[in-house]
Amino acid sequence: MEHIPAPAIDFISLAPALILSVFGMLVLLMDLFAGKNKNLLVFASLVGLVLAGVSAFAPKALPVVSFGGSYVVDHLSVFFTLIFVFSSALTILLSIEYNPRNGIRAGEYYALILFCTVGMILLASATDLIMIFLGIEVVSICLYVLAGIKRGDVKSNEAALKYFLLGAFATGFLVYGMTLLYGATGTTKLAGIAEVIHSGQTNSDTLLLLGTVLLIIGFGFKVASVPFHMWAPDVYEGAPSPVTAFMAVGPKAAALVAFYRVFATAIPEIGTTWDTLLMVVAVATMVIGNFGAIVQTNIKRLLAYSSISHVGYLLIAIIARNSLGGSAIAYYMMAYAFMIFGTFGIVILLGEKNSENLEIKNYAGLGVKQPAIALCMTVFMLSLGGMPPFAGFIAKFYIFGAAIKEGYVVLVVIAVLNSVVSLYYYLKIVVLMYMKDSERELELSMGPITLAVVAIAVFGTIEMGLFPDPILQLTQ
């Protein structure tokens, strides 16, 4: 009787995911005995995240392959692991003051964020369709629950329901696309698929094409690109603010990196067939995201549309599918993490006792009453709009550079025009803060921890804008 050999597993490279899984379960069990005080859970989650972040640097020589080529830890995945760990930590910090104020008492909240981070880490390192599917589902299922964690709030319920129905619908498309890809090539490994396509031994080109289109639909839903973006504004508005910030950064980055890996590793050779389709999607995403944002009156909905338009820019990097594209996505998501967490930190700071205070018109007069906060908000808005010398400018610059190198000049021109449009609604908020008087007095809830998060974010946004090189080297 022959033995089935155990697959090669490098536990050191798996450490971030393993540590976070263990801490997730620990936090879940601790919640049962912790009672009303959640500080211990917060502390344990943060310790877990820090340990995971440190352990991401542990592998000596990259890339490290585990599970017979299903899981690869390379520079890209290490950097994304850092983004995920960082954004999860900021989410937890933002929640410390937000949750009690808004009646979120469930201790599972922290465990879910940790599990979600595990899913994202798996997704960033996955090089097998099955693994990608599992990663996406771990992330999505945690997020469905997180979006609806305010159980008594109908808005939060509705957000969770919509997110769940559309997310599960998208999963159907995604997994069907993966199946057809598997059927056409006979393997689920990304490298194997590329090999089969290269040697021209596919079982059926129709299946391959159909699978690719279904994959674009599935990933399109997950990253909220047009025409599959409808869920994003509703879910972003209904979910608790820290969770919204979390959704806009971590899971989106994870889905994008998987998107990038599938399209740049597995099926680059049939690129001519999906290029045009993806270009149309990218342009539509930028245009509809930006024009949708102009008419919004609710800050969270505005940020939702703005995040849709940012996905449009990021899709350009996937279309470029060169190594520059990968590191451009990584840099962009890091910069985006700083900007989004800062903005949402301010949104949370401006929340009142009884309402979240999400109407943009209530931001009037902030420049006089809270000059420091207004200044921070201005930094984030300018950076989101892609103005130098902030991080958003450099991030866009690298993406456009990667695209121009491959000759997609028209696409870049459209993207730059869109950036200009987006400046309109970002600057509208700035103008409102400085040029208009407030209509009524606001009772702001100034939490020191939330303020600290905003300060970190301002520092990051400016630092990454002025000195992009150290971070950029990490991504390559």
Binding site: I130, G148, N157, L161, F164, L165, G172, V175, Y176, T179
Partner: protein
């Protein structure tokens, strides 16, 4: 034994079921029925996975379909929990009535 039923028949069955599921999601307004349609989609995928697995003679498809089943079960439980907690605040299962947030 092989080849009693050609691969294409399985694929057609699976594609038909998948389309039925998609139409169910798009046309029905009852949350529970929409939910069941999504499950039909996932199970349609399982059929083609197993069919491919058999005709390609490797076991990746079976492993994949295991994962799909497990994920479907996890989604069912989370989805039902969301529907129940929604139902506590607003006793209806008609999708059109969930309209506080504009679609």
């Amino acid at each position: 034994m092989d080849g009693f039923v050609p691969l294409n028949h399985y694929l057609l069955l699976s594609a038909t079921l998948f389309v039925i599921g998609v139409l169910g999601v798009l046309l029905r307004r009852n949350v529970i029925v929409v939910f069941m349609s999504i499950e039909i989609m996932l199970n349609a995928v399982n059929i083609s996975l197993i069919a491919f697995d058999h005709y390609l003679n490797n076991s990746d498809g079976q492993v994949f379909s295991f994962m799909v089943m497990c994920v479907a079960a996890a989604e069912v439980s989370v989805g039902l929990a969301i529907i129940i907690s929604m139902f506590r605040n607003k006793p209806t299962v008609n999708l059109d009535e969930f309209n506080i947030l504009k679609w």
